[in-house]
Amino acid sequence: MSFSNKAIEALPQAQSIPLTPISPLHAWFCLVMHTLVFAVLAAVSAFFLWQPWFDLVFLRDVAPYTLGATLVLFVLFAGYRFVANRKLAYGVREHDITLRAGWYWRSITTQPLLRVQHIEVERGPLERRAGLATLALFSAGGELHTLSIPGLTLARAEALRQFVLAYKAEQHVDQGASDV
């Protein structure tokens, strides 16, 4: 690799950004949502296992396996997400916002504010009750790569939103960004 960068010591390093953990409540909220979704899936299998009205032998025979698979997947998926969600932490620098995520599959993602096209503070029903909010930073990288920071206090989310808006207002030369 011919990449050389003599002044590397002087560059700001993402590794050393101080990170703040998000609210531990977020992991519990996600657990509740996952439980609901998997409960519906399990209910479908359970229905075919015990329903007395129709003569669906094949579905009845298959149902125990799908029910078992649903439960195993639930434990693996929701369990992993619960642990991983508790690891979520974010850091704010002058020019970017960084999110650390994951427990086994760890990731660090940095969104340069210059590339933010649109910003939203979102609140689900559970978040509203707990006074929490999610900050979503949209870039031209597409929906899949929206940087979402959940489990912020509403005041913190609003303050971050203002910070990003102020940054954007300063950068007159910005490109493509419009509907901030």
Partner: protein, 495 residues
């Protein structure tokens, strides 16, 4: 500059709406072909009713086209265009010129006789944010296009920075230099190299039963399904011949598609834009400001390697949709170098790629190859017994070979301006991504990777996401920090 108030399109536009309806019907081939086959007996027996229904449907489609045409009106001023459409669902689309990403003028075959054309204005958003004005006089279309380009460059709006050079705007294509053109011979090579005929096999899937009924007697005649009276070599030769015949037909088909869609392909450079024109039945024109190009890739499938040709692709914002990109088919090595020199002159021609870590091969083996082989072998053994299961060794070994080749192909490099990526299975694809186009970087690591000092980077641009898997952790962190620094300190434009 333009007439004020709501304008109607020329009545010639009805042709467009008729053509659109028929294309739509033909495109949804499976929705009518299956009923057609199912009821073929009835249809053939009642030809009078059938022809009545066909004529009725044709008349209905023309009536629908007329009504659709009547409902369209547009309004132009120097800042943008408004378009009203819809018969049942009325729509008003407003598109300011400074939001326009791409201007295209097309000359479809149904306007050939009258010499009209259609103008397509694409915005940064989704495809329903696209405005299409049909049956325009070419001079009028060119005028709108000039206006759009003028607004885009003179108004330093938030959407479009004043990146274009004022001068080139008012000079139309006269100044455009021809960068590349493709002959029919080149297109034939493209058709062979990127055989899209395979798609037909998938498309025919619902009819396999029907086809089998027809072909089986033929195969019996040829002696394919005989009782063993034919020697095995003869059986194999016949089978190979049939396969070769099938491939031949598919390749012919692929060549025809390639020639129709890329006929008389010409790539121009007009100031700081690329312009591509192509197509036999309908001429398509794609204009792409160079600053909006997110990445350029050079791709060679295995047949391309034998033919020594490659496809060069300029991808722009939303590059996952092929219609937004410009593909230069079947170029030679030197032509591809010349095109790269034009777009990315600063690139390092002889950059040395770093290979992916051998642990990536281990990941391929344990996460992809092993589960796939274990699953298929289990199924085969359960269904057909151990003697059949042994044969699964052959595809397993072949697959292992493929994964090995894929791992060998991996390569990456970075200098102060670009990321260079190389990937592929049998073929080879090299991608150049300017650092300045970065939207968002991610670093990924598992504890196992950490122990080995490895990391992956996800590199998100407006054209898509690229992963650099299993690279040296220190290098990954340095690339990450350096790219962020470049973006944040220099605020480079990405479009």
């Amino acid at each position: 500059m333009f007439e004020t108030g709501w304008q109607k399109l020329s009545p010639i536009a009805v042709l467009f709406y008729v053509a659109r309806t028929w294309y739509h019907v033909l495109g949804n081939v499976f929705s009518w072909l299956i009923p057609l086959i199912v009821f073929r007996q009835y249809i053939l027996e009642h030809l009078l009713i059938t022809s009545g229904v066909v004529i009725g449907l044709l008349a209905l489609s023309i009536l629908w086209a007329w009504v659709s045409y009547r409902m369209v009106s547009y309004q132009l001023d120097n800042n943008g265009v408004d378009l009203r459409t819809g018969v049942f669902n009325k729509q008003l689309l407003q598109l300011p010129f400074d939001r326009v990403q791409n201007v295209r003028i097309e000359h479809p075959w149904y306007f050939r006789l009258t010499g009209h054309c259609q103008l397509i204005l694409e915005s940064a958003g989704s495809s329903d944010q696209e405005i299409m004005l049909v049956a325009l006089k070419p001079e009028f279309a060119e005028r709108i296009k000039a206006e759009v380009l003028a607004v885009r460059t003179t108004v330093p709006s938030a959407h479009n920075p004043p990146q274009h050079d004022q001068q080139h705007l008012h000079q139309q294509h006269q100044d455009a230099t021809l960068l590349n053109q493709r002959s029919v011979g080149d297109l034939v090579m493209y058709g062979i190299g990127s055989n899209r005929g395979w798609l037909i096999i998938g498309g025919l899937f619902p009819f396999y039963g029907y086809i089998e009924d027809r072909i089986e007697p033929l195969l019996y005649q040829l002696g394919i399904f005989n009782d063993g009276s034919l020697p095995i070599w003869q059986w194999l030769v016949t089978l190979l011949a049939l396969f070769a015949m099938l491939m031949f037909v598919l390749t012919l088909f692929s060549i025809v598609i390639a020639v129709i869609s890329y006929y008389d392909f010409k790539l121009y450079r007009d100031g700081d834009r690329y312009l591509a024109r192509m197509g036999l039945l309908s001429r398509k024109e794609v204009a792409m400001p160079i600053s909006r190009i997110q990445e350029v890739s050079v791709q060679q499938d295995w047949l391309d390697m034998l033919l020594r040709r490659r496809q060069l692709r300029y991808s722009q914002v939303g590059g996952m949709f092929e219609s937004k990109n410009i593909l230069v088919p079947a170029v030679t090595s030197s032509e591809s170098q010349a095109l790269l020199d034009d777009v990315y002159a600063q690139r390092d021609r002889n950059i040395k790629m770093t290979q992916a870590s051998k642990w990536l091969l281990a990941v391929y083996a344990t996460w992809y190859w092993l589960p796939l082989v274990a699953l298929t072998t289990t199924v085969v053994v359960l269904l057909a017994g151990w003697s059949a299961g042994v044969w699964m060794l052959v595809p397993a070994v072949l697959l292992a070979g493929l994964y090995y080749l894929r791992w060998r192909r991996w390569g990456y490099a970075m200098d102060g301006e670009f990321i260079y990526l190389q990937s592929g299975w049998l073929g080879k694809k090299t991608t150049l991504i300017p650092l300045a186009k970065l939207q968002q970087p991610s670093l990924l690591q598992t504890p196992l990777m950490r122990r080995r000092g490895l990391m992956s980077i996800d590199w998100v641009t407006a054209g898509g996401v690229h992963r650099l898997p299993f690279i040296n952790e220190a290098q990954a962190r340095a690339m990450y920090d350096f790219a962020l620094f470049e973006i944040e300190a220099k605020s480079p434009n990405w479009m």
